[in-house]
């Protein structure tokens, strides 16, 4: 290949089968202590409910498990390996001290139903984080119960509905811009609202005139991502809030892109009535290959009575506890109190930053996105020239002339040692390349990225076929997704003959 990459070289990739293919009877990775109570006859205790056999569950030793998962891990890309510029995903550094404090005994082993008297530590963590997030968002109250961003959206729309109901009628529709994440409309449907699309204007922002014309008493709320998925701050935000409020609608902010705002501006100050945060984006809790997340919802005072039960409360004696007596509450959205382990990590992140660090973080995130924008201009088409905040969206228009699309460029980027950007989103940009570097990238790493992108642009001109066949350096080449969906194989099954697994007895 002509263009050699400065960042990545091929490395040894072990072959590793499925764990079931290593199993054989008699191997074990467990050892229980001797029973200190009389043994029992399961048949006698359980009768017909006794299970006789565990099917094809594996039998392997500890070293095999260590090697199995370690080998698998080497087939993953990760933030720890390099830049992960997924737009709107905020793939920032996940601090290790967060992992240490989340594993302290009293924190990791606290039972959700242990008496409040013996839970003051956990409750103090919840309270401190709540106060920090309320201050950061400029809101008045918060629930930490939702387990992820989409779950937070659902909680938010339940609050909208409860509020509108209390005002007289729940209304029928939620307005959602065409640039929105797919969870927004899916959430509206789950809460029984119809979705009405709101068009963006030529700058990629909400068309305020269109909004004014569309807004009426059937609309319960507008769900707005700000900065939006183009990385553009909605400059008319005050006017947007005004239009909604004038007709009794609420302004819901999807906080997916809060990394552009922390310490610089507070949604509560610019007219937002309620919003969710993604602790796994802005507040550095690890993505872990797709979760756990955490999606707190912060609200203005008038929505506080509707927040999920239970709510944190300070008792007359100064100790902390939960208040279950909330007659106007929307109810529970999850058992217990939310993804507590993520609260611990997010709070540790806030402590490590302090007010100055949080502000610097936001500034660096915006600085980085603009550096990449500057670096790629010319090589890739920029569909909206509106100023970028923490992310920038290019399109594949120049490369599409050679038949190379955003996904192909993304796959080629893998060969250069980078995780791809977000492809084909937002939907309002055909062939979008959505890039969010976050604050965690050094100038050197970004220079390598810019160089890689230009190199790919050159390759598209010289040898588009090579780009279309990328990636070339990975353990597997492009996988047949159509076949996977047409005839789904969703679990391992033993070979009819000659298998090495341990079969049902």
């Amino acid at each position: 290949m002509k263009h050699m990459t400065r960042k990545a070289t091929r490395h040894v990739n072990q072959n590793e089968g499925l764990i079931f293919e290593k199993s054989s009877p008699g191997k074990a990775a467990w050892k229980l202590p001797p029973l200190d109570v009389p043994d029992v006859d399961a048949k006698q205790l359980l009768g017909d409910c006794e299970r006789k056999d565990l099917g094809w569950m594996p039998e392997v030793s500890e070293i095999e498990i260590i090697r199995h998962f370690t080998r698998l891990s080497t087939w993953n890309y990760a933030i720890d390996l390099g830049m992960y510029p997924l737009g709107s995903c905020t793939m920032k550094y996940n601090p290790r001290v967060n992992e240490v404090v989340a594993r302290l005994d009293g924190i990791a082993n606290g039972h959700p139903y242990q008496p409040e008297k013996a839970s003051q530590g956990a409750l103090r963590i919840i309270k401190t984080l709540s106060e920090c997030l309320i201050e950061i968002t400029g809101m008045d109250a918060i629930t930490l119960q939702p387990a992820a961003g989409a779950h937070g959206e659902m909680t938010g729309l339940l609050l909208v509905r409860a509020y509108q109901e209390a005002k007289g009628h729940p209304r029928k529709k939620i307005l959602i811009p065409d640039s929105a994440h797919g969870t927004n409309p899916a959430t509206a449907a789950m809460v029984g609202y119809a979705v009405e699309n709101l068009k963006s204007n030529a700058q990629g922002m909400v068309d305020v005139a269109a909004l004014a014309a569309q807004m009426n008493e059937d609309i319960a709320a507008l769900m707005l991502t700000n900065p939006n998925t183009l990385g553009v701050f909605e400059q008319e935000i005050a006017r947007i809030a005004e239009i909604l409020h004038a007709k009794g609608g609420l302004l819901y902010m999807d906080g997916a892109n809060m990394n552009a705002l922390v310490g610089k501006v507070r949604p509560g100050d610019f007219g937002v009535d309620l919003m969710h945060l993604n602790l796994h984006k802005t507040f550095s809790t690890p993505h872990g290959g797709g979760g756990p997340g955490s999606g707190p919802v912060a609200v203005k005072q008038m929505l506080e009575p509707f927040l999920p039960t239970p709510a944190l409360a300070t008792k007359p004696d100064g100790t902390l506890g939960f208040d279950y007596n909330r007659p106007q509450s929307v109810g529970r959205v999850r058992a217990f109190y939310g993804n507590f382990g993520m609260f611990v990590r997010a709070l540790a992140y806030i402590f490590a930053n302090g007010p100055d660090g949080l502000r610097q973080t936001t500034e660096d995130a915006v600085l980085n996105a603009n550096y990449i924008r500057k670096g790629l201009e010319g090589g890739y088409e920029l569909p909206y020239s509106t100023p970028s905040m923490h992310e920038v969206v290019f399109s594949d228009k120049l490369q599409a002339r050679k038949g190379v699309r955003t996904m192909d460029i993304a796959k080629r980027l893998i060969d250069y040692g980078f995780h791809p950007y977000t492809t084909a989103f937002p939907l309002i940009v055909p062939g979008a390349l959505m890039i969010e570097p976050t604050e965690s990238e050094s100038k050197e790493e970004m220079d390598l990225f810019i160089e890689a992108m230009h190199s790919i642009a050159a390759e598209v001109e010289e040898d588009p076929q090579m780009v279309l066949a990328a990636p070339h350096s990975t353990r597997v080449s492009r996988l047949d997704e159509v076949a996977a969906a047409r005839k789904p194989v969703l679990r391992w099954k033993p070979e009819p003959e000659g298998n090495t697994g341990s079969g049902p007895a």
């Binding site: 500890e62 959700p112 839970s119 530590g121 789950m190 610089k264 979760g291 973080t361 076949a483 969906a485």
Partner: protein, 459 residues
Amino acid sequence: MRYLPKSPADREVILKAIGARSIDDLFSPIPAQYRLQRDLKVPRQMAESEIVDWFRERSRENGDGYAIFLGAGAYYHYRPVIIDSLISRGEFLTAYTPYQAEISQGTLQSIFEFQTMICELTGMEVANASMYDGSTAATEAVMMAVRLTGRRSVVVGRSVHPEYREVLRTYASHQSMPLTTVPFVDNGRLDLKELERLVTKETACVLIQSPNFFGTVEEVATVADIAHKQGAMLVVSIAEAVSLGIVEPPRQADIIAMEAQSFGVPLGFGGPYCGVIATREQSVRQMPGRLVGQTVDRNGKRGFVLTLATREQHIRREKATSNICTNQALVALMVNIFMTIYGKVGLRELARQNLAKTAYAGQQFGKHARVLFSGAPRFNEFVVETSEDPYAIHGRLLGHKIIAGLPLKKFYPELGNAALWCCTELTTRTAIDTAVGLVAESERSVKSAKEADVEEVTR
């Protein structure tokens, strides 16, 4: 700030390259009146050592080192150390959802193994990559049954975890899904006669939990017959995954919604946990959540991808099966490693130890107080009725570094002074004997106090 990889000089160079005079230029799209001109009122920047100290202090205030008899949807089991060794690898910890399959095969293959083992343990044909937790899994399983049957009413067992039922109520409230509740009878199992009466041709599904909230194993086959006879589905929630090692799984169910926390996930004051939905192949297209499938690459090599995405929000938007996006992948990996460690034989032995500890504790408590619902098989939980208020017992045992069973009156006022106790392989005989002794002490004194009251009244 120690997480930020730029020197002041780097920032200057970048600003110059962009053509901005100052960082404030970059924030000029934000209307000036909203730009924050002060520091956020959050604690000052702390050193790593200070952060560790602060949380250590909180840890000490949180029941650290207590013997625990609580279950009720969150179970204290041993977590083999290699779980944390492996999930701490940055390649698992700091990876995103595996959309880019070529550089995510580690996550994808491990989810495929997870799906396989969940199928083996539940007796179902397909399982998804995870849901938020047991409560939302049960709720989404019910909504799935509503879509599959085209019916809307749901019959829910009162022995299902009360908080799971609350979550279902929240979700159902705006879906026009009427919910009715079936009571339980003296042995802690559902009232089958009442169930038969409540299930009709309008019923989309029956939701039960087994072992149920009281630890009692439900009569799943009979419940399934009652549901199926009316064309309704059976959704079974399993909150204590370790039970699957020795209790026959609810194979007659159409959908199983699990909480897999017991499999290597720390109690963590209630989360993050790991919900899972498993079902039959024919129902897979109505399943919420991510699914991993096996396929081949251009050279015919085996590989794994996220599949059947046309069910999901990023493709279908408001027509998706659910709005779920981020799920519990890293927690599912803990569960996967736990299942791999214990495997075919270990999981049964582990479950047997739970059964034995519970049988012993039940017998010991039975000598001094009434153990309710003893007429049906149970796994590792049991209900003890005392004369003394269970909250008082809680307070008293706390002084001995023991966290007693969960008082039930909050959820089931009719059960009065009953509490739900739980034993796992980690509950020692010494702890059981001590707890029984302390409960017995008050039972004797309450009894004599009551007798004194009676005497007073008669006098």
